[in-house]
């Protein structure tokens, strides 16, 4: 309510005193603000257009159906990377989503916020969200070694690294979605004699599902583009077979893009550009799905 009044008052302000904003200085300032706002779009257009133009010769079926090849760079493909990325993302989702949602429910619905350990968890989470992704790679290496897995570059290692990386994102977005469910719904349920968990499971969580799904997919779309932690866990870049399980070696699309870009031959550069477009399409598809879910199912209270 207060927020609404604030916004309404701002709208009134926005229309007041226009003429004083017409001085040259003010207009230049406004122009600069517009420029900063749309600079990003400009860069994005330049990035996509230049990459698409460079990769255009390789928009063929070989690009996604063939394995990488150093012998015939003009026909090299990213099949192993695409499949590897999909598999590692699925494994990441299977690990990170339940843990993330459970942690968010604890913090939002059950935790006594006065307790020092809950406060500590909060601060810790904020910090984790800003820890460099390479560090998660180093952690995953230590973790799987502790589990007795000494082989490098397995799907499980990649999934552990990426799960820990996106856990803060999932927790934060789930909390926001849960918080958006009005208090009245919880009170109504509790007043009827439901327990805290019944209220959470039957009322809060179902109402928050669209928001959680949106946030989770956005988190996964961040994970699918990550290369650094995978590089650290020793993911191979020249894999010529499909991944077939958690304990399988794999490569990922962003990693193949990295290694292909590092090659000096022109054909590889072109292939990398084309692969980037494939990666961007995958990310765009995930984001589109998130937006679709939000628009279709999101309830406005």
């Amino acid at each position: 309510m207060a927020a609404y009044a604030e916004t309404a008052a701002k709208t009134v302000l926005a229309t007041a005193g226009r003429d004083r904003d017409r001085s040259v200085k003010s207009l230049v300032f406004l122009g600069l603000l517009w420029f900063s706002l749309f600079f990003g779009v400009l860069v994005l257009v330049a990035l996509i257009v230049s990459t698409a133009l460079e990769g255009a010769p390789r928009f063929d079926s070989d690009l996604i159906t063939r394995y990488s090849s150093t012998l015939s760079p003009e026909r090299t493909g990213f099949r192993a990377g695409i499949l590897g990325s999909l598999m590692v993302i699925l494994a990441t989702a299977a690990m990170a989503v339940p843990i993330g949602i459970a942690a968010a429910l604890h913090l939002e619905e059950f935790a006594n916020k006065e307790r020092w350990y809950n406060k500590f968890i909060e601060v810790n989470l904020q910090n984790l969200a800003a820890v460099p992704s390479v560090v998660y790679g180093l952690l995953a290496v230590a973790f799987v070694t502790l589990m007795g897995i000494h082989q490098r570059g397995l799907v499980i290692s990649g999934a552990v690294a990426l799960s820990l990386l996106i856990l803060p994102v999932i927790i934060i977005t789930t909390r926001e979605a849960v918080r958006a469910v009005p208090r009245e719904i919880r009170d109504g349920s509790m007043a009827l004699g439901a327990t805290r968990w019944q209220t959470t499971w039957k009322q809060t969580l179902p109402s928050a599902v669209p928001g959680i799904a949106t946030g989770t997919i956005l988190g996964l779309s961040r994970a699918i583009g990550e290369a650094a932690p995978l590089l650290i866990i020793g993911t191979a870049t020249a894999i010529r077979f499909d991944p077939n399980g958690l304990m399988s070696q794999f490569t990922a699309l962003p990693l193949e893009i990295y290694s292909t870009t590092s090659q000096s031959r022109e054909d590889f550069r072109v292939a990398a550009a084309a692969a980037i477009i494939v990666l961007l399409v995958m990310i765009l598809a995930l984001n589109g799905l998130a937006i679709f879910i939000r628009n279709k199912f999101q309830r406005s209270w």
């Binding site: 709208t11 302000l13 004083r20 904003d21 003010s26 300032f29 406004l30 603000l33 517009w34 420029f35 900063s36 706002l37 600079f39 990003g40 779009v41 860069v43 994005l44 330049a46 990035l47 230049s50 990459t51 843990i99 459970a102 942690a103 604890h106 809950n118 500590f120 968890i121 601060v123 810790n124 904020q126 910090n127 984790l128 800003a130 820890v131 460099p132 992704s133 390479v134 180093l138 952690l139 230590a142 973790f143 856990l167 327990t195 968990w197 779309s221 961040r222 583009g225 290369a227 650094a228 590089l231 650290i232 866990i233 020793g234 962003p254 893009i257 870009t261 590092s262 550009a273 990310i283």
Partner: protein, 320 residues
Amino acid sequence: MTTTTTTPAGPPSPAGLRGDPVDLSGRSRPGEAVIRGVLFAAALVSVLTTVGIVIALLRPAVEFFRDVPVWEFLGGTRWAPNDSGNPDFGVWPLVSATLVITVVALVVAIPLGLGAAMYLSEYASPEMRRRLKPIVELLAGVPSVVYGFFALTFVTPNLLQKVLHIDVGFTNALAAGLVLGVMIIPTIASLSEDALFAVPLSLRQGSFAMGANRMQTTLRVVLPAAMSGVAAAVILGLSRAVGETMIVALAAGSRPHLSLDPREGMQAMTGYIASTAGGENPVGSTSYNTLFAVGLLLFVITLIINVISIALVRRYRQEY
């Protein structure tokens, strides 16, 4: 004491006979307790992650510091861990490269991020704000390896060499820093927009009432009032820049040397980790352990930066 509950006398009511003893003790709900425990355990995963990071980095790093004294690592100016004849473990070349790239990135990201934030908070209508915000956030959705490719194949050859005629090499800190700056614009824009928007309306009204226009109000009233939040945003952007890996690994170069000239190629901390982790150093060797020593240094630097940022955000949340 001031309560005057009027209770005139009256005969007892027959209803007094009634009232079966009520059982309010409830059922025991072991399931509820188990679930609470599971949820709490899930929340603890985040704490265990931090503990895990510290242990994972500390153990090999301690071993490393047994071979290489800490002062040599933190004070040395030559980084050549794989020079079998004359290895040197002075981390300064890596740190200086990170510093140079980060400064370039911030020079790009602070004005642009703040500009976007000021527009969204002070000029845009709520409807425009809602529509424009995702556009700014788009930049954060592009994978860093894609930015790295862009820096290497477009920014360096086309923008820097052909258009601006800057004498840069194939890999250089400038291109990496510029693109990295673009990547952290959303971080700075989004957090500082929150801070600007949180400034109470009364401050703006006061300024308008004194005859100030929107630009003066934004720059002289709102921005100073939101300073701690804006600082938190910049610092968080700094943390992201320091920790970013793929852009610097691809575009900044892989030759560690001490220089502050952004036109040169140089290897940053994250760049070193990326290039060494993929290599074939035997586990437990000093050259393998360098990875964790550099990782630990990186973690400590970003941790300090993050804690400052979190503390600043707290402060501005308390102010209003």
